[in-house]
């Protein structure tokens, strides 16, 4: 039986972008407020899951031709390297630092190395979650 998915598909086309925006917001909010790499990554992954639900796997794979195992691996790599980066400067493993910069148009912005670490976490979460979902759903 073919189910008509037109409503789900057209709604999710818009909702995916809202979710992605929320994910980015949560990701950057995580520095001083609830949020962060893990939660941002989970929300990001949920948008992929929504796409997988609304469309079939082949379409999504054609649209996003990325191996999510490698996404997870690169995320973990970023986490580890950002931890090891501190050791090169003689600081203890996983040390972080931050500084304030004056950017044009934005004014004073706080930039911190934790963001690199969090990027890694987010990528790892997205990679792992989507890999798990795909590995279950692929051969049904």
């Amino acid at each position: 039986m073919k189910i008509n998915e037109v409503i789900l598909q057209s709604v999710s086309k818009i909702v995916v972008f809202i979710i992605l925006t929320l994910a980015l917001y949560l990701f950057f909010a995580g520095h001083n407020a609830p949020g962060g790499g893990f939660i941002g990554g989970l929300v990001l992954a949920s948008s992929f899951v929504l796409m997988l639900l609304a469309f079939d796997i082949e379409t999504v794979k054609k649209g996003i031709p990325v191996d999510f195992k490698l996404v997870a691996a690169s995320g973990a790599l970023i986490v580890l390297l950002s931890g090891l980066g501190a050791t090169i400067l003689g600081e203890p493993f996983l040390s972080q630092s931050f500084a304030y910069f004056d950017l044009p148009f934005y004014g004073e912005v706080e930039l911190t190395t934790v963001t690199i670490f969090e990027t890694g976490v987010a990528l790892a979460v997205v990679g792992v979650v989507v890999t798990i979902i795909l590995s279950i759903s692929e051969d049904v």
Partner: protein
């Protein structure tokens, strides 16, 4: 508040134990998931609640809760998430290979 949470954790442990002892594989997995959630509640209760405080130091809040248990819970949630996901994939694979999710039919080494 602590009392309520502790009781809820106890109830969850009971449920988890019941599920863990059943013969259905999916129930066992759900049991382990519920057990970890019960433990998370316990961890939270161990940190104390202090009314409605949040684990953030800022100008708006005068009292704040110990943030460490929350960090522990977050770590543990991540781990249990990974373990449960892996366990579910495994259960699915087992079901595909053996066509059963009844644990008494999934006896191992000596019965093969």
């Amino acid at each position: 508040m602590e009392t309520v949470i502790i009781i809820v954790a106890g109830v969850l442990v009971t449920v988890a134990t019941y599920l863990l002892l059943s013969k259905n594989l999916i129930r066992v997995i759900l049991g382990t998931a519920i057990l970890t959630h019960a433990v998370h509640l316990l961890l939270m209760a161990m940190g104390g609640f202090k009314g409605e405080s949040v684990p953030i130091i800022s100008d708006k809040h005068t009292t704040y809760v110990d943030a460490l248990p929350q960090a522990l819970i977050l770590t543990s949630i991540v781990i249990s998430f990974a373990v449960t996901a892996f366990f579910l994939v495994l259960a699915y694979q087992v079901y595909k290979r053996t066509n059963t999710d009844d644990l008494s039919k999934l006896r191992g080494y000596r019965h093969e």
